[in-house]
């Protein structure tokens, strides 16, 4: 893994505007940045990222199977009690998942470490699947990249394939997101084009325009019944909104399915560590409350695992709320001193998870985080974001990558 300076494609900003990639610059800073790119070997991609991510997703499914039948874990994960049955049924009925993105810390050697799983509402899909692909094809055609290069990016094709697997031909899918957020909308649109390519009908409705019919079904902004809803909106909020009580009776099919509420929750990190202790791709993680109890000398279920992890946690750990988006509420502590804190604390009133710190590599003053895309059950591509700080947030830069060697 190296960061290589490459020539930008002349006029790529015009090209971005032409294809509708309107947020290539955000807040006066570049978001899409192709002044350099990350280079991986095929072995690094396949052995260190692709296969471990597919395995991690399988482990996450095992964790869901455990959590949905455990009152203790449903409570810990802050899933509201009235919706336990809704979440559990969706798992028991085998409702299929569509996509997710693991955030991994990796520096080119050693096992990649799971930072968190964006299993419910991952964004940056368009940049990863499409614009990054275009960069690769055009840079290779221009000779900027050598002839024996490739990119780990079957995201679009895997998405089409997955849609065809999980929906019937001609099925109408509604796509809901915040219309005013171009980043979110781009993700939904990339999703919708893939669904259409898979032979499905795609219809957009703004999330806030969804209505409830007299029959208790959800309807779109034009009063049409919603049969299947792809919602780029987190389950933890769905389950607390005014329409929450109508979710299960509506008989709507939701994508992601309700059981993703278990995975899109930082509380999954302590559960994974409990079920798969010392797995090479996991970092020790605990609920802050359990950690405090163990440090007071209480003999809880986690006391032994905490004692084992203490030296590592003391060296450095990250505290994050169970619900959080774009790095909000994240605090880094090293050797007893707080060394970094995300400015946004809008999620900090939720229970906290403490995870051992995986040092992010430093490339020219930037810290990359790898986004490993899961489509269905397997890893199908990679997107890299980097930031000057060690807490990746929504103004981090997206960097293209390629495979050589």
């Amino acid at each position: 893994m190296q960061k290589i300076t490459v020539a930008e494609r002349p006029g790529w900003r015009d090209r971005a505007a032409e294809v509708g990639f309107t947020f290539a610059d955000m807040g006066g800073e570049p978001y899409w940045d192709e002044t350099s790119a990350y280079r991986f070997t095929l072995r690094q991609i396949e052995d260190d990222i692709e296969d471990p991510s597919t395995e991690l997703h399988d482990m996450c499914r095992q964790a869901v199977a455990h959590a949905v039948t455990s009152e203790e874990w449903m409570t810990r994960l802050e899933i509201p009690r009235p919706h336990w049955d809704f979440v559990e049924r969706s798992w028991a009925n085998g409702e299929p998942e569509l996509y997710g993105r693991f955030d991994l810390a990796y520096d080119g050697s050693g096992p990649a470490k799971l930072l968190e799983y964006n299993a419910d509402t991952p964004t940056s899909l368009y940049e990863s699947a499409a614009f990054q692909w275009l960069w690769f094809e055009e840079s290779r055609d221009a000779g900027t990249l050598g002839p024996n290069t490739d990119q780990f990016n079957t995201i679009h094709e895997a998405l089409v394939e997955r849609w065809a697997e999980i929906a019937a031909q001609g099925e109408d899918i509604h796509f809901a997101a915040d219309r005013d957020n171009p980043e979110d909308f781009a993700t939904v649109e990339a999703m919708a084009w893939a669904a259409r390519e898979a032979g499905l009908g795609a219809h957009f409705t703004a999330l806030a325009d969804i209505g409830l019919s007299e029959d208790g079904q959800f309807a779109d902004d034009r009063d049409r019944v919603i049969g299947t809803l792809f919602k780029l909106y987190p389950w933890e909020d769905m389950l607390r909104d005014d329409f929450a009580a109508n979710l299960q009776p509506s008989q709507t099919r939701f994508i992601e399915p309700p059981w993703k509420a278990v995975l899109s929750n930082k509380g999954i990190l302590p559960l994974l560590w409990q079920m798969f202790p010392d797995h090479p791709n996991l970092l020790p993680a605990f609920f802050a409350a359990d950690l405090d109890a163990a440090r007071r000398g209480e003999r809880g279920d986690f006391a032994d695992a905490i004692a084992l992890a203490e030296p590592l946690l003391r060296r450095g750990h990250v505290t994050k709320p169970v619900f959080s988006r774009e790095g909000a509420g994240v605090v880094i502590t090293e050797n007893g001193h707080e060394t970094e804190r995300a400015p946004d604390e809008s999620y900090s009133h939720h229970p906290q998870v403490v995870q051992a710190l995986a040092p992010l590599p430093d490339f020219d003053g930037f810290h990359p985080v790898l986004g490993a895309w899961i489509l269905g059950l397997r890893c199908a591509g990679l997107g890299v974001r980097e930031d000057r700080t060690r807490i990746t947030h929504n103004l981090s830069r997206f960097k293209p990558h390629f495979i050589e060697g």
Partner: protein, 220 residues
Amino acid sequence: MTIQTPTPRISAPAARPARKRSRHVALLLAGATMLTLAACEDDKVDAQAFPDLDSCLAAAKEGGLFFTEDDCRTQFAAAEKEHLETAPRYASKELCEQEHGAGACGGDPAAQQNQGGGFSFMPLLVGYMMGSMLSRGGGIFSQPMIRTPNGYSTPNGNQSFASNRGSARVPGNTFTRAPSTIGKAPMTSTQVSQRGGFGRSATSRGVSGTGGGAARSVGG
């Protein structure tokens, strides 16, 4: 030239594709309005309607169409079954005829068997429509046809047609199965009683932006 390849071992992992990237992608972002429009316009499939099995068989014999005589038989049987499962039910013949026209209704064979009473009248099967999803990687689909006051439709009511014979390009959702249980079929019109119950972003405090649509991304 012959290339020697080693005999694969049984325990060898499944071969990976040599290429790690897509052959094509969807590159264009068009915005919310375009997505809605494109979905409406481009969603058409080839379809052919017949009033009965014999007229389908006769057309298939002439050839050059997307279906065979076997398809006629299979799809007619499927349409008959689907008609029983998904056709709307009414409490009286009069109510049924108001919706479907005079002489278009009959008793519900399923209700007669069950002594169910209640909603035991339904529109008669007056033909079936077959659609080719071959261009989209699918097979041949069919839907039963029933009368409407001014023409014909499939039970899900997505589209109405002037005739129960002939060929056309029709929207793909014509072939969406109507639900056999409760509520209304996806994409049918309904009476909305409340709106705005999603989007409060309840887990986040002090988010900028107003009302339903939060300005921040939900992404991670």
